[in-house]
Symmetry: C2
Subunit: 212 residues, 2 copies
DNA sequence: TAGATTGTTAATCGATTAACAATC
DNA sequence: TAGATTGTTAATCGATTAACAATC
């Protein structure tokens, strides 16, 4: 389907383009050149044009890019025109925070299930969804279409849950456990959010400020 | 102080080395070669040696690396031998989740203040810390040593809070608002966690699985 | 000592930037 | 048309990998 391999450096920049274009759209900006966008985003115009041309020629010589059109195109590239059914496994503080984050739903990520092992949490309702015991997860996943499983559980439990859930057919894992999940299924994919590691790069910078 | 500039690619890999070494340490592994570590981590041995040699020669020919020593050295490099005083600005679901995340405290990030504009939250206690009105933040920051401010607030409010807080002398910002903060103070540094963008790279991969 | 493995230099690969002809 | 700006090729830069002498 796709022609050449897109580098992950490019892919990681796409959401940022999408965000800036969304803001331009909100401000009723109709067209933008790569040069102007580059100044706003603090990247080179060359990089913007290179990045976009991985996916097609969205601009027009002498004019630039139509903001609405480009925004829409990047939306399609990112797969955001679809809706994704999401379950959250591990309904502790972080799991609940993500469940309550309205913005995800606005972008098409719909939470359809919450699971936990903790009997205190089971039966509780978050955003109108009842927390189920993790024993019910397999049946749930097999009966419903689940596109993404969010893992917000202790690292000790993450590998088994990930393996199980992928064996039930879930293709996307958004992993918050501080561990590298190894999936057998080549079709399935993991996106990691390692908060501790992010915080450590901050402490690195705070303690290595070169005072030149 | 530091000799040559360390690339951010290297810095971002350090916490992962640190994590693997910590696990080896827990399993009482005394020594490890770059080759063996490379196999566990799925990177090249060459990269490990190059990365580490940015900071010094921690190994020994014919032997490899002493796990405990290397772990300790990376800890120092990452600035984790110190303690950091942290405030959280925006005590919604995510702010509370971070406040409750015990692991940060274990690594030396101590939460000393919580602030919010919402009168419903002000006065509430999270992990033994009372949520204060954001109006009290300036006095608090000036009276206490605050190393890191965590911004878990709506994007509309983030730029002003960031500017203010940096003007009060805070050098590190851990930003969860979906926006690029521009800081005047060259000494101050921002680490972004853009959850939406992370989720979008996942949806990209889910909708662009090349079935070769 | 012989074998193992580092630290480091050199080679390769990939990503970013510059340049410019094509064209709206 | 003239000016602006793209899409794309070529040049540069930086990061990764390979190779190997040094040495424990």
């Amino acid at each position: 389907m796709s022609d050449k391999k897109i580098s992950s450096a490019v892919i990681k920049r796409l959401p940022r383009y999408y965000r800036y274009l969304g803001e331009l759209l909100e401000n009723d900006v109709v067209r933008i050149s790569s040069k102007e966008l580059s100044e706003r985003m603090h990247v080179t115009a060359s990089q913007i044009r290179q990045d976009l041309n991985n996916f097609g020629g969205f601009g027009q010589q002498g004019y630039g890019y139509n903001v609405e059109h480009l925004h829409k195109e990047i939306e399609k590239i990112l797969g955001l025109e679809k809706t994704y059914n999401v379950i959250i496994v591990g309904v502790g503080n972080l799991g609940q925070a993500l469940a309550n984050y309205i913005d995800f739903e606005r972008k098409g990520f719909v939470i359809i299930g919450l699971f936990d092992v903790n009997p205190r949490l089971v039966g509780m309702t978050v955003r109108g969804i009842e927390v189920k015991d993790i024993d019910e997860m397999e049946a749930f996943v097999r009966e419903n279409t689940v596109d993404i499983a969010v893992l917000t559980l202790p690292k000790a439990k993450a590998p088994k849950v990930a393996t199980d859930i992928v064996s039930y057919g879930v293709k996307g894992i958004w992993n918050f456990a501080p561990i590298d999940l190894q999936l057998r299924d080549a079709d399935a994919t993991v996106e990691n959010v390692h908060l501790s590691e992010s915080l450590m790069t901050l402490s690195y910078r705070l303690s290595n400020t070169d005072m030149e």
